[in-house]
């Protein structure tokens, strides 16, 4: 195999057992860091950041909306990437990561959509506007739902993993095309309306808490991913002796 250039830890990742152990060690750290960051970011954003001169205090929704939207997109990328690794190197753990990411990513897309809609009410005066960003997020949610539906429709775990990997890769190629076409369609239909999040140069008092929230969200949902992944590992490796030992010791 011509994969000698890859570092060793990459192949260690392939071992479900190693992965289970390492996530077990990482989880407490992630929990502390993520909760600190998210609590800090939320309080900062809600109480200390200045209000927007146009949108007033409804602007504070940005500290939730933007991190959710960013994560929903990057988790889709992670899912497709993990799926590709699973396909190419037949790496079981990558398959499990891809499967565990999907519901988390979908819930983030839902959060981004809901907060976008709620933010839209005071800003645009209606709950839903066919804004380019909201529309692409809706399509992203559909892509997530497709992946989840396909995964649950196929009985064999291996086949399900491979099939969803192909689908998520196809989706990944399509995301930029969909984004571009939706943006273009949007400008065609509603010329330059008031955008939700595009602001010319936010002052640091506004974007620093946003940055804190984004990082906090990455760690927080990384934590959620690890929790899910561990369940997936246990379930799929139930036959392995290390799982059996683990279970009988933990009694």
């Amino acid at each position: 195999m011509a994969v000698k250039w890859l570092p060793r830890w990459f192949f260690q990742l392939a071992s479900p057992r190693w992965c289970y152990q390492i996530t077990g060690m990482l989880i407490p750290w992630f929990a502390v860091v993520s909760i600190t960051l998210v609590v800090l970011g939320t309080i900062w954003g809600l109480a200390f950041a200045p209000a927007d001169y146009q949108q007033g205090n409804s602007f504070r929704i940005i500290y939730l909306h933007v991190p959710a939207a960013i994560l929903a997109q990057s988790f889709y990328m992670l899912m497709a990437l993990a799926g590709a690794i699973g396909l190419i190197w037949k790496m079981k753990v990558a398959d499990m990561v891809a499967k565990s990411v999907a519901p988390i990513g979908a819930s983030l897309a839902v959060l981004a959509l809901l907060t976008g809609a709620i933010w839209g009410k005071p800003t645009w005066g209606s709950w839903w506007v066919w804004d380019a960003r909201l529309t692409s997020m809706l399509v992203l949610l559909f892509l997530y739902l497709g992946v989840i539906a396909l995964n649950s429709a196929i009985e064999s775990e291996t086949t399900a993993g491979q099939a969803t990997a192909v689908l998520s890769l196809v989706g990944l190629v399509n995301i930029p095309i969909i984004k571009y076409s939706v943006e273009w369609w949007n400008t065609l239909h509603q010329p330059a309306s008031f955008k939700l999040t595009e602001k010319p140069a936010m002052p640091p008092e506004m974007w620093v808490p946003l940055l804190v929230m984004v990082i906090g969200f990455y760690t927080l949902f990384g934590l959620a991913l690890m929790l899910r992944l561990r369940n997936e590992i246990l379930q799929r490796e139930r036959r392995a002796s290390w799982v059996r030992d683990l279970l009988s010791v933990k009694a």
Partner: protein, 59 residues
């Protein structure tokens, strides 16, 4: 602090409903994403342990 009083803070300049609704939803989704897998983990371990016991019993 961007607000004069706690009531001001809750009111969010008239947009309180929207802001707090969003953060409530955010909290809900965060908590669900953390609690559900933890609960599932208990279930998985219980289920696998039951399996193990059954196999030991039959062996």
């Amino acid at each position: 602090m961007a607000f004069e009083s706690f009531a001001d803070f809750l009111n969010m300049g008239g947009h309180g409903l929207y802001v707090w609704l969003c953060y409530g939803l955010g909290l809900l989704i965060v908590v669900a994403n953390l609690l559900l897998p933890m609960q599932q983990s208990k279930q998985v371990i219980r289920e696998l342990r039951r399996r193990l016991r059954r196999e030991e019993g039959s062996a």
